[in-house]
Amino acid sequence: MNTATLTDSALETAYDLECSNIHKSFGSVRAVDDVSFTIPKGSFFSILGPSGCGKTTLMRMIAGFEDPTSGDIQIKGKSVLNTPPNKRNVKMVFQHLALFPMMNVYENIAYGLRCVGTDKAEIDRKVKDVLDRIALPDVANREIHQLSGGQKQRIAIARCMVMDPDVLLLDEPLGALDLKLREAMKIELKLLQHQFNTTFIYITHDQSEALVMSDHVAIMNEGRFEQIGRPEDLYHNPQTSFVAGFVGDSNRWAGRVVAEDASGFRLETDAGLVMTSVRAVGQRISAGQNVSIFVRPEFIKARKTSTPSADGGENSLQGRVDSVLFNGANSRVLVRGPVGELIEADVVVTGGADDLRAGDDVTLEWSAAQTMCFAA
């Protein structure tokens, strides 16, 4: 699973960025461990992983602030290993934006152009142009501290885009924003990428950011890429238990394969819950093996045991509602199952009489196809 390539056929032609077998160690810490991937022109590519998994390190190598211990990085087909950071046509939006506080907006954007010696009139034109494109035509003379969080965000992007980079790197650029603004900027960023039609590489540990915005997402864990794919693929067909656990919410159990047949497996959790799953393509587990089992709360249907059964799926459990976590459209029940463990299931709470309440006896049902299991 260390190397992974995108399966999309269009990718075989022109890559903006190609990393092969990149390693990076800090002393004994392997921050990045044999990562390879290619990114086609004009796509929005995210790297999603928990804190400390090596995302920033990887990005800093692409930008040239760190040298890989081994491996090669090619931009537009040319290796950049010996190119210093200020000569790489890869621009970066930093986590805290790193706008220059002692310069105003105009000067921030003009900075890169001045460094490469663009002439005055040309700079004026380009700055004006990029400000128009980010829909902030009037802020050129503002000081940085006079901007709102979202505006700063866009200026940071404009400052890079005015240089017409081959690749734009974004290191958790929404991390510093507050909740509501973050939601709004997610959509905005995606629109900006369409606008500029430049390759974006986006780092985040927030799965919803990665899923919502990206054409392709790489899931990173402990320095390695676990899986690369379209958001839906990762969500519906995780290849490893790490991906299954990290992308989307899940009930997770440790268990064992008690029986297998051509179509699937019979599983038992350590606590004694029994369920079935179907055999996924290429899945190599067999009876007796220890496995991690995942079922997403949204796929579990919870109904009062007293109501008539519909066709809920191959798996069915009896339990009692421990508590209802009301959260509007994302409400959930915690159900105490037959062997005493808590199981989460999504529910719709309408405020009506047939809503589930703490203490209700419920039946939980889901299909075998929605039980995911991986060798532990």
């Binding site: 930008a63 040239g64 602030f65 950071p85 200020n86 000569k87 890869v90 621009k91 970066m92 930093f94 986590q95 805290h96 790193a98 706008l99 220059f100 506080p101 002692m102 900075y111 890169g112 460094c115 490469v116 000081e143 501290h145 400052r159 890079c160 240089m163």
Partner: protein
């Protein structure tokens, strides 16, 4: 705020204490300053009436400070020394800041403590130790090579070195504190946008440090200007103002012209201090 501050009587008492403290702080300065306007030959009561002679009069016995060549010369030397000390100390303070914030080298902590040390060595001792060393070297060179190294004899250069030796700790601390607040990603951002290392330093890092460098420079200048203990041992024939005033007071006898100088210095350095605080205030933190 702390709940006790809601107690009105307590708060009143507290404010009275603050007021008393500031009166305590101001009293000797007001006294020293206001006798500059006493129309008398002695800086003492009784009050003989108001005069500006001690500033502007151009003849003895009430020679005003702006006509007193020796005081003006002292002021001039103080200025020269202050400027040299602040330039040197800001320069070394800046390199020290980079050294200790950015550098990675063995025994860094130990060196850091060495850097702080001069601040806690009594000024008298700094003065004499530098005097002793300089004289030893000068005498040694003279005995052996019959060469007179005049710059190692008490004089402006030694005074500058003596003050520089501890002022640098102050400037280093001020500039280090600012550099620590510097987000290195600003430098990386500049590099990323195509700037060379030198450009980054010139356009991003130094501008960021500038307020601290200016403030440190002002502090250095003021500390140098008022220094007595260290300077006393290192001064040659070119005495800075504090020494001139001391000699005047101890060896000639003070007249209100010394008060006039005091008044002038109080107002002048108050203004400088104000500037340094205003400069150091970060517009963003408002």
């Amino acid at each position: 705020m702390a709940s006790s501050t809601k107690n009105q009587a307590f708060l009143f008492g507290y404010r009275a204490y603050m007021a008393a403290f500031f009166i305590f702080l101001a009293a000797p300065l007001v006294a020293a300053g206001s006798f500059a306007f006493n129309d008398s030959l002695f800086p003492a009561l009784p009050w003989q009436g108001f005069t500006l002679d001690w500033f502007f009069n151009d003849s003895e016995p009430k020679l005003g400070m702006f006509h007193d060549r020796r005081l003006l010369r002292g002021l001039y030397y103080s200025g020269i020394i202050g400027v040299m000390v602040s330039l040197l100390a800001v320069f070394v303070g800046t390199t020290n800041a980079f050294l200790f914030v950015r550098g990675n080298f063995p025994a860094k902590n130990f060196f850091y403590i060495l850097m702080i040390l001069p601040l806690v060595i009594p000024g008298v001792i700094l003065g004499i130790s530098i005097l002793v060393m300089a004289s030893n070297i000068a005498n040694g060179v003279e005995d052996r090579f019959n060469l007179e190294l005049e710059f190692l004899r008490p004089g402006i250069l030694l005074v500058v070195f003596g003050q520089f030796s501890f002022v640098t700790t102050i400037t280093s601390l001020v500039i280090t504190a600012r550099l620590k607040k510097f987000d290195t990603s600003l430098e990386e951002a500049a590099l990323n946008l195509g700037a060379s290392r030198a450009q980054v330093l010139r356009t991003v890092t130094l501008p960021f440090l500038r307020p601290a460098m200016i403030a440190a420079g002002i502090v250095a200048f003021l500390v140098s200007f008022e220094n007595f203990n260290t300077t006393l041992f290192l001064v040659g024939s070119e005495s800075p103002l504090t020494i001139t005033m001391y000699d005047r007071m101890a060896k000639v006898g003070s007249t209100p012209v010394l008060n006039a100088v005091s008044f002038f210095l109080i107002v002048g350095s108050g203004l400088l201090a104000l500037i340094s605080v205003v400069i150091q205030r970060d517009p963003k933190s408002e």
